[in-house]
Symmetry: C2
Amino acid sequence: MENISDIFNIDPNAQTKAYRKGALLQSAGDSKALTFYVKTGLLRSYIIDSKGKEHIFMFAPEGWIIADVESLEYGKPVELYIDCLEDSEVVILEKELLFNAEASKEMIIKNANLLYRRLGVLQRRVLMLMSAPAVDRYEYFLEAYPNLANRVPQRMIATYLGITPQALSTIRAKMAHS
Amino acid sequence: MENISDIFNIDPNAQTKAYRKGALLQSAGDSKALTFYVKTGLLRSYIIDSKGKEHIFMFAPEGWIIADVESLEYGKPVELYIDCLEDSEVVILEKELLFNAEASKEMIIKNANLLYRRLGVLQRRVLMLMSAPAVDRYEYFLEAYPNLANRVPQRMIATYLGITPQALSTIRAKMAHS
DNA sequence: CGTACTTCTTCATCTACATGAATGCGAATG
DNA sequence: CATTCGCATTCATGTAGATGAAGAAGTACG
């Protein structure tokens, strides 16, 4: 996750919509996946698995873009819920806007490079999930997103890391004792 | 993982290098991360964790591109090993070629969209690693990459799924019994 | 042909983390 | 102010998958 603010040909005067904390912007099963640019506030995307458990895919603070890319790109049913963790102002984007032919070449290259960086972030995420124990994933999260740790509840950090809130609690307890 | 062949402004006459099965093309600790386009054969990228265990990040059959994107984009030390699972012909790319200003706008848009699709694939991978049990991940792998399952030894599929070869063996035994 | 090597499998044991329940606490709400 | 509710914590128990060892079968190579 790196900041992709003021990019993606986003018209700073584009019409924004305001949502209250807790508002649900997209739901699994929706007919069409949307793309949101976050001007202010904080969004998250997550799935609910077959046992009813939440798993957070990503957080999107101001300047970020968040979407169900798999659904957008492969036409699969929408699977990611997207909601507000804080009061937020967002712009709803058409996916085609990101790389449309009207944009300047420089802008497209800029956007493409940002996507490429996202790949780097996801590479890290996959490798951590496969190879690192929960405590290491937590420490990496704290380093990589220090401000987020203060804005989101522990239980959400836990489901982002792929563990339960209880497990995170004991990890934190152990870390405090040393 | 979808096919990204004949894209990425790859000159079909570009000079290719031939490598034998088992050849190591990139190693953790290398000073500069490389990008490989696979013309024929099969490559993989993987890390070796602190306990000496391998974890495969991805396979790259003919037509694919493979690289340590995190190192390329964030200037981090090279962490991914890349080697040949079959005799292969590859083209070594400069990263800048992907989105350079000389390429046509259409080509850049094409490339950017391919990157976007890769994001969709990685989204799926992360969600599976977080929420799905090993047996589901294996079944998804078989569906998504049916031909790879025949070209790659079980133990590598296991480390791609994030489990041990023993665990995969018992999963397969159970699946055969039903 | 025999030896070595790799892959796959099975089993016994161990461990990281999940699950479920109980408690305390602070913030929101009437 | 009292009540509720969400969040974090702790504990007792359960389980998916790891670990380590050992054997069977296939393959490479002298």
